[in-house]
């Protein structure tokens, strides 16, 4: 959990939000530190987390989470964390035995039998419905752009997110955090379609961008925090805050633009 980011967002693990859709977006830089932050934040807050990790292995998140003060293996054993390792599911699907009828593989769309992400949604729904003694459920996806690379149509991805929102945010009063990659002059139209659509439906957008002037040792990038107040109440305007950040081994420090520690 990154303490400075909590201050900027006005969030605290003692009172996590309910029913919010947070979009993490990165452009020309690596925004995965935001995923690590939210993972450790919600585990600290005592929420039940379903983590759909499509891009990296469990040990990667585990090692970083230990630096941020959370033990993923223990959380998994206690049932607080349901971890879907996309890479392992994919290998099971392609190289494994015939699946049992009761437990369909969440990544079934890879073998082309069904073009939609229904199996993935069923997995999410089943794992978050049984909340147990934990506080509100949370769905964390890292990252959504990979689904497009694996052959899912953009409409299927948007449908999946819509179904998840209805189930997790509205019915179960939980939160969703999704990471996508985007690029302003990208030629990947399908990806831009998904990202734009998600931007319109999110309550909070954290947009990590690389600096426009290139690489800098002391400032690794710039983060835009957009609180979409106009989504709920029509008369309000979105609040946009811009900060710059530097990533260290166990922490990320945020500061106002132009006021990095190297300059002061």
């Amino acid at each position: 959990m990154l303490a400075e980011l909590n201050e900027l967002l006005g969030a605290a693990p003692e009172r996590p939000d309910a029913g919010k859709f947070t979009l993490l977006r990165d452009t020309q830089t690596d925004g995965s530190f935001l995923v690590h932050h939210f993972l450790s934040f919600y585990l600290r807050a005592g929420c039940k987390v379903c983590f759909v990790a499509l891009l990296q292995s469990f040990s990667h998140y585990n090692i970083v989470a230990q630096k941020l003060g959370v033990n993923l293996a223990a959380a998994k054993e206690q049932g607080q964390l349901v971890f879907l390792e996309g890479l392992q599911s994919c290998l099971d699907l392609l190289f494994g035995e015939e699946e049992q009828p009761g437990q369909p593989n969440p990544l079934q769309f890879l073998s082309g039998s069904s073009p939609d992400l229904r199996a993935l949604f069923d997995f999410v729904r089943v794992s978050l419905s049984a909340a147990g003694s934990w506080k509100g459920p949370v769905l964390l996806v890292d990252d959504l752009s990979v689904l497009l690379s694996l052959g899912a149509a953009p409409v299927a991805v948007l449908d999946f997110i819509h179904y998840c929102r209805v189930c997790v945010c509205c019915q179960l009063k939980g939160n969703i955090v999704v990471l996508v990659h985007s690029n302003e002059d990208s030629e990947d139209e399908e990806n831009e379609l998904v990202v734009n659509s998600l931007c319109h439906h999110s309550d909070l957008i954290l947009w990590a961008e690389g600096l426009a002037t290139g690489f800098c040792k002391d400032v690794h990038g710039q983060i835009k925090i957009i609180k979409r107040l106009s989504l709920r109440r029509a008369a309000e305007q979105d609040v946009v805050q811009i900060y710059q950040y530097k990533i260290q081994d166990r922490n990320v420090s945020f500061f106002a633009r132009g006021l990095s520690a190297a300059v002061l």
Binding site: Q28, T29, D30, S32, F33, H36, Q56, S57, S59, H60, I63, V64, Q66, K67, G69, V70, N71, A74, L87, Q88, C90, L91, L94, F95, L110, S111, G112, S113, S145, V146, L148, S149, L150, G151, H181, N183, E184, S186, E187, D188, E189, E190, N191, E209, G210, L211, A212, T213, G214, F215, C216, K217, H220, G221, I247, Q248, D249, R250, V252
Partner: protein, 401 residues
Amino acid sequence: MAAAGGARGRTSFQRRPGAGPRPPALPGTRPALRRGQLLLSSGLPSLDCVLGGGVAVGTLLLIEEDKYGLYSNLLFKYFLAEGIVCGHELFVASAKEHPDNILKELPAPLLDDSHGKELGNEAAAVKSEDLQDSMKIAWRYQNLPKMEVSPTMHTKFGHYYDISKKMSPELCQSVKFHSFYLHEELPFEPKMKTWNMNSGYARLLQSIQRIISQEGFDGSDPQQKQRNVLRIGIQSLGSILWGDDVCCSDTPEDPQSLTKFLYVLRGLLRKSLSACIITMPAHLIQNKAIMERVTNLSDMVVGLESFIGSERETNPLYKDYHGLVHVHQIPRLNSLICDVSDTKDLAFRLKRKQFTIERLHLPPDLSDTVSRASKQDLAGSAKLLSSGCGAMAIGKKHLDF
């Protein structure tokens, strides 16, 4: 690290006490303790520096080929040659030339280490202060290291190779070698599940998975005492010879085959003690969206841009070099930060015996009149080069000279 964890009092990380006998270290590897990774050398010590120490086990190094594929082929051969010298197993896949021919063309290592010793002596001499060549004018630069190589060159982690000589057949035969030549493989067996992927790629994945599980690289055989690393090399993936038309047309038939292949390959690599190098003719891929997705699905992406045939070949600014190196992506695995060198302007040069990647040094501008054209060209290339965290300068308005 255990002490720091205890002081914070929050993490429940417990370091296992070193009670039992430690497993023997894998040959040719070096641990990166801060990230909990095991690093292999890519065969080129200067490339190891650029990549932050080496190629981590379980990761994929993607080389975007230069226009004629000459230099990327060299990097490919260096990687395989390093595997032979370290005693790793090799798996070479190609649709262009037979892997046995690739094996015959590997560069010979400078094993008597005379070259390595020379460099070691030089660095030692520089470190041992003044006396030898004390500089009179530029005395502030006295203590800077002469070459930009990592201090690990004194250990047996990276080796130097002589491109003008071929590796001896005895040395080549000393390691286990698996090959995959697409045109000799059996056609795709229909009883396999429908994979929805280009058949060439599917066969290659099955072959890799079979080798990994049979030879026990995924740790499935606990009886196996001596573990080893598998180095996988795939040549010119995505070219038309693999049966994929990504490189020929703007709207390929099956644009997701390549990305699905990379995803499944990543799954296989993460589960086993292996590392993979892939060369890809990225300059031929018309659909840039596919290249973006490919970059996202690879761990390290290094692009080579050679000066052959371009106007930069005769440009006096680049007279010492044969091309530029663009590092498009370095992963942040097991950590929030990544260990990369700060130099982002890299160029390569091919000397008679060696290939090196160095920081791009521009020669001093000694002309009487400052030429406008060269300055513009420089500003243009400087903007393109300084793309460290992947951020490129948007618009020329930020850098006005």
